[in-house]
């Protein structure tokens, strides 16, 4: 029999992970698949699983003047029903897996799973989203892009838990999210691309771009974004080839059972080019 814990309060959870070698499971839509041993056999866990779906205090969406705060145990489908959900985030959730999975999956689950193909990750990166990480007696706020250090790797310690995702509210002149999967629904990304741009008086004053599934982590290059900010829109378009060339070196996809690296690279750059052309 596996020793597991289904807490109903945050404090119980933090105490438990402080005193046990534990693994928090929030949604389980990927983790239970990774750990399964077969029908009618208990999945394989080296650490005690803690299922957090019953912590009511972490199931919320709140808005402040500048931010939207999303409780760690809020299923992503709730974000689809919430009016104030940033449109980019909504777009990524709409194409995430299937309705059944969206009713269970959570943003912290997507973050901690740390897959380069995680659907919400490029969005959380370019929106400069942060997470609140708590232990029994401390808490810290860290940007999502600094939480993930590699495929399936994060900075979280075993006594720490993400309790909240904090997304800044911002208005962009233009933004979009493109997911390229093997089919139109219920697919894992071969490539994803997102952008958010602010344009004032024909000048780009804020430029953010990110790519998913074309490297070990989400690709967002702030130094390149800065390089092409405060540029006239027409000039920006003229620089298309240069921009593509600047990004090319960072797009380092692999061959796998879902696609190949040549396709991933070419399509990632096509999407970048198309973004520039149609801006």
């Amino acid at each position: 029999m596996v020793d597991y814990f289904i807490p109903t309060t945050l404090i119980d959870t933090l105490e438990f992970i402080n005193n046990n070698e534990a693994k928090i499971i929030s949604g389980a839509t990927d983790l239970m698949v990774q750990r399964k041993k077969g029908a009618e056999i208990t999945p394989y866990f080296t650490k005690k699983p803690v299922f957090v779906f019953n912590i009511k205090e972490l199931n919320f969406i709140k808005e402040s003047y500048e931010h939207i705060h999303i409780g760690a145990c809020t299923p992503v489908s709730d974000l689809l029903n919430h009016k104030g959900t940033p449109s980019l985030l909504r777009k990524s959730i709409e194409v995430m897996a299937s309705p059944a999975l969206r009713n269970l999956a959570t943003l912290p689950g997507n973050i901690i799973n740390a897959s380069p193909a995680g659907d919400t990750l490029p969005i959380l990166y370019i929106l400069d989203a942060s997470v609140k990480i708590e232990t029994l007696n401390s808490n810290r706020i860290v940007k999502v892009k600094d939480v993930i250090t590699g495929p399936r790797r994060t900075i979280l310690n075993s006594n720490e838990m993400i309790t909240e995702v904090i997304v800044p509210k911002e208005e962009f002149t233009k933004s979009d999210f493109v997911k390229v999967g093997g089919r139109k629904a219920d697919a894992i990304s071969k490539i994803s691309f997102t952008y958010a741009v602010k344009i004032k008086e024909n000048k780009i004053i804020d430029l953010r771009l990110a790519f998913g599934a074309v490297g070990p982590v989400i690709i967002r290059k702030e130094e390149l974004e800065e390089k092409y900010t405060n540029i006239e829109l027409s000039k920006f378009k003229e620089l298309k080839q240069e921009i593509i060339n600047d990004y090319r070196q960072y797009i380092t996809p692999i061959n796998d059972q879902r696609s190949n690296k040549e396709y991933r690279k070419k399509v990632a750059l096509n999407l970048l080019g198309d973004f520039i052309d149609t801006l």
Binding site: K37, G38, A39, E40, I41, T42, V178, V180, G182, R183, K184, A185, D186, A187, I188, I191, Q257, R258, S259, N260, E262, Y263, K266, V267, N270, L271, G273, D274
Partner: protein
């Protein structure tokens, strides 16, 4: 008289949609043991030594030493062992079965078994031919000599996975001195024959029952015989109930799939006319032959698709490779060949600068034309009428011109196809010899006694409809339970688009017998046996004569649009016209058409399955991508009646027909959109990118 085609509610739809239907993994028996298969870790190797752990009481390891009969799965050739003995020929080939009460412990035992191998070099190339078939029609040498030019293309088709919702599974138990097997199967009597052979037992020692089947598509034709043999050996030895259910990954990595194929076609041309075609077909059987010879022969017979070509040379090989054995899949060799011939006709037209539609029409087979095997198309062919309907409904001709000029990435494609109904040639008479019974009890309830399995295709509804219509009794008074070999005669396997036309035809005859001899409140039973029409002549050795008793026909038109940045294909709309003789139930045929066409289209542009070093790469539903409802286009389906005299109410086969045209239609639509010749499927975004960058 009421029209049989008028749709009625499917008899099992309430049970299936409410969750009441019991599938094999839902069965639980007292003191039931669980079984897990021990599998090879190598693609080709000699087994040097096995080290089995000491087992706790109640746990067993079953292997080849427990087999009372000969260690082969009874099929056409004795080549596939039930359990590997001294060698393995593909990755994950079954070696033994571990059985015990706690499934987790069973898994631990499986993992603790040590097998020492001497690794050998595997083959994945098409070099080791184990079957060669060839035949000619007319005079190909003369055609070659008279021709002024030759047009040649090679087409490649991939694996396709059936991906039934319910994985393979079976339960075995010992009851009334019988080894009894209940399973998710298409062919109860195939399973029985295999088990009788492996146990070297009397016929009545084995009983096979069907559980509700959650999809099959051919994948549960011959493969379940292997699982049944594993279980039967265990049940025979232990005399307890044992459950063996495959995990999804296990199912996808180790069960039969559609044969990958390479098809080389060469046309001998003169004055823009096709004098003859030579076809060279190679199919990949995997590690053992199984049904591959029959798959090859059905592919070869389809060598000219719906066209009449006077001079032919057809040659085909079954190649053995060290990969998972391939087997039956809806279409059975035809999807590969029809993809090739449909693309080829199109490519010839382009090369000689003739409208493809014009070229197609000039070679379209007509009644009394000679078939690819020099048989005769005896029944009326209504393709011209079907074509008119398809062109009109889809607005094909206008779109075809417009999209070409628009320089858009829109495309429209059309395929024409036929499918032979029933077993090849005299197979129904020489191999199957179907028997059906109709039994009336004293309450005037009529039971259909046949071995046909409802796997979602609706046969429980259509058979009852046939009987209730003929007898003019309510459908509720007609009973058709899951087949049980203790109770039903062998009406043959549920395969080859034969169930309604052949078995249904016999059931209809039995019903007519009962009607003529009906005595109220009396027990009555009528038996019908298959009799081959005397005009069907088939020379199996030389592929000469009437390959099938009848053909169903179809046209698919598919419209696509391709994304210029991502090369993703959107299938926007589809139009189909079918001649299935006469629909026994319109909605059931439309269900077959929607599902079949989507499965065919998926095969054509989406479904990727590859083996690398003999290992299947796409082994779960996440990685093996098939169309979802979101990907499904609007499909318009039209049926035109063309009754076949020997089918019940004129019905012919419909199960496979609806799949076989999907791939060429979508591939031609994509070819039209991008203006590049497509020679392989699936036409994935990766392949489209490749084609479009070769400017």
């Amino acid at each position: 008289m009421k029209d049989i085609s008028k749709t009625i509610k499917k008899v099992d739809s309430d049970d299936k949609s409410s969750g009441k239907s019991k599938y094999i993994s839902d069965y639980k028996m007292e003191n039931m043991l669980h079984a897990i298969t021990v599998r090879s870790k190598h693609q080709k190797a000699k087994i040097i030594k096995r080290t089995y752990p000491v087992l706790k009481e109640g746990y067993y390891i079953i292997d080849h030493t427990d087999i009372p009969g000969v260690n082969f799965v009874k099929m056409i050739f004795d080549d596939m062992p039930v359990f590997a003995e001294n060698e393995v020929n593909y990755y994950l080939e079954p070696i033994a079965l571990v059985v015990g009460p706690d499934k987790e412990e069973v898994l631990e035992i499986v993992n603790s078994i040590e097998i020492a191998y001497e690794i050998q070099i595997p083959t994945y190339e098409y070099t080791n031919s184990v079957i060669n078939y060839n035949f000619t029609k007319g005079n190909i040498e003369k055609a070659k000599k008279e021709s002024e030019s030759e047009i040649e293309y090679t087409y490649n088709t991939p694996y396709q996975e059936q991906l039934y919702i319910e994985p393979q599974g079976m339960i075995g138990y010992f009851e009334n001195n019988q080894v009894t097997l209940v399973g998710s199967i298409q062919c109860p009597y195939y399973v029985k024959a295999a088990v009788v052979s492996i146990l070297d037992s009397e016929e009545d020692y084995i009983r096979v029952k069907q559980a509700t089947v959650g999809g099959a598509f051919g994948g549960k034709e011959e493969f379940p015989s292997l699982i049944a043999c594993h279980l039967a050996i265990a049940v025979h030895k232990i005399k307890k109930s044992v459950k063996l259910i495959y995990e999804r990954e296990e199912d996808m990595e180790t069960t039969t799939k559609r044969h990958p194929a390479t098809i080389k076609l060469k046309a001998y041309m003169k004055d823009n006319k096709i004098l003859g075609i030579s076809s060279n077909v190679g199919i990949d059987a995997g590690a053992y032959i199984g049904l591959s010879g029959v798959v090859l022969s059905r592919a070869l017979i389809a060598a000219t698709g719906v066209y009449t070509i006077d001079n032919l040379a057809v040659n085909g090989d079954v190649f053995i490779t060290n990969t998972v054995p391939n087997g039956a899949f809806r279409g059975f060799g035809a999807p590969q060949m029809l993809f090739a011939i449909e693309m080829f006709i199109h490519h010839i037209a382009k090369d000689i600068n003739v409208e493809p539609l014009t070229l197609r029409q000039s070679y379209l087979a007509k009644q009394n034309d000679s078939t690819s095997t020099t048989g005769t198309f005896r029944d009326p062919i209504i393709m011209p009428e079907m074509l008119e309907k398809a062109l009109k409904e889809s607005d094909f001709i206008r779109k075809e011109k417009e999209y070409k000029q628009e320089n858009s990435l829109k495309g429209i494609g059309m395929s024409w196809f036929l499918h032979g109904c029933g077993f090849t040639g005299s197979g129904e008479a020489t191999h199957i010899n179907a028997v059906v019974k109709l039994e009336k009890d004293k309450n005037d309830l009529v039971t259909i006694l046949i071995a046909a399995v409802d796997m979602g295709q609706g046969v429980k509804t259509t058979m009852r409809k046939i009987v209730s219509n003929i007898l003019d009794i309510p459908i509720e008074n007609v009973i058709y339970n899951h087949p049980d070999t203790n109770l039903v005669p062998d009406s043959g396997p549920t395969v080859a688009s034969r169930t309604i036309m052949i078995v249904g035809g016999l059931v209809a005859r039995a019903a007519k017998q009962l009607k003529e001899n009906w005595i109220d409140r009396n027990y009555q039973i009528f038996t019908e046996k298959y009799k081959q029409p005397s005009y069907i002549k088939w020379d199996e050795d030389n592929f000469r004569g009437d390959a099938y008793p009848a053909y169903s026909w179809g046209i698919n038109i598919v419209e696509v649009e391709i994304d210029k940045n991502t090369y993703e294909v959107t299938v926007k709309e589809g139009w189909s016209v079918y001649d299935v003789g006469k629909a026994i139930d319109e909605q059931i045929i439309i269900g077959q058409a929607d599902g079949g066409q989507l499965q065919g289209i998926g095969y054509g542009y989406m479904e990727v399955m590859k083996a690398v070093d003999g290992k299947i790469q796409q082994k779960n539903v996440t990685d093996y991508i098939i169309p979802t409802s979101v990907d499904a286009p609007i499909l318009h389906t039209y049926l035109i009646d063309n009754p076949y005299p020997l089918g019940p109410y004129g019905a012919k086969g419909a199960g496979e027909l609806t799949l076989v045209g999907g791939a060429p239609a979508v591939a031609l639509a994509i070819e039209h959109a991008i203006g590049k010749k497509v020679t392989k499927i699936p036409v994935t975004p990766e392949y489209i990118m490749e084609l479009m960058s070769n400017e």
